[in-house]
Amino acid sequence: MSATPDAPVEPPRGQLIRWSPQAMALGMETVATQFAQATLKVPYRPDLVGDPDRGVIAGGVVTTLLDHACGHAVAMAMAEAGPVATLDLRIDYMRAAEPGLDVHAHAHCYKLTHAIAFVRATAYDRDPSDPVATAQAVFMLTGVGPEPVSDGEAGA
């Protein structure tokens, strides 16, 4: 399980932030993880603002946080760590995040098949029941081959 420092390897579970330069650049932190779930946050920072009139954190930051939290939840659902790729991500923006507050995202991988993971996530600042945004994502497990028994379905 050893690796040279400059040769990145699969991150161990729960280490998906320090491993990712963009997550680090956003100052992302892991708040909590459990089986098939992850809660991450991005601390408020003026250089991440998207709407300077209101001081609101950019939608793109919320997008990245939600994507990352979803990927993290998938990793927490997998029996062993493996590469995943986002197929699609839908985000509904309920309201602007409150200026000055950290943005949290809780993601739950509610279904994992042989090669596909389905995830729902919520972004919030104060209260999870008053979301800033909700997301629905589908991931492909890129480390697996085509389904062992395939019924005329082409492998990806």
Binding site: S20, Q22, T86, L87
Partner: protein, 145 residues
């Protein structure tokens, strides 16, 4: 006309601290606008591949949509996303990325915008987005939701 478009476009990006965080810039040729995301190491999401972070590509597409709206019309305030769907088609390699957007409909309150990002070849997009944005026309006095 074109000068005014360039002004609104530059203002949209320059006013947004997060656009500077990403390193975004925009070019306008006639009415055809391209947003450019120069490669930088901090944009990487997965160092194994290596691949640009999916969230960064989503952000690029969303800002491209906002920039396209800014040159289409002057708004009383910056348009706000209502919902977006991002499809990931290919992994984003560690090179410069380009994006363009097309406004499918610009209504009085809501705009529907599609955007696409590519790297080496325009015909090999790496990600696409479609979404709705809340718009506030300058002429209205901010009446109505």
């Amino acid at each position: 006309m074109s000068g005014e478009m360039i002004e609104r476009l530059q203002a949209t990006l320059a006013r947004m601290p997060y656009a500077r965080f990403l390193g975004l810039r925009a070019e306008l040729a006639g009415d055809e606008m391209t947003v450019i995301l120069p490669y930088a190491p901090h944009l990487i999401g997965n160092p194994l591949v290596p691949a640009l972070h999916g969230g960064v590509l989503g952000a690029l597409l969303e800002i491209t949509a906002l920039a396209q709206l800014s040159i289409a019309r002057g708004f009383a305030r910056q348009p706000r996303p209502i919902d977006v769907t991002i499809d990931y088609l290919r992994s984003g390699r560690p090179v410069d990325t380009y994006a363009r957007a097309e406004i499918k409909r610009l209504g009085r309150r809501v705009a529907n915008v599609h955007a696409e990002a590519w790297q080496e070849a325009r015909l090999r997009p790496i990600a696409s987005l479609h979404g709705h944005f809340n718009v506030t026309p300058k002429t209205s006095a901010g009446e109505g939701p």
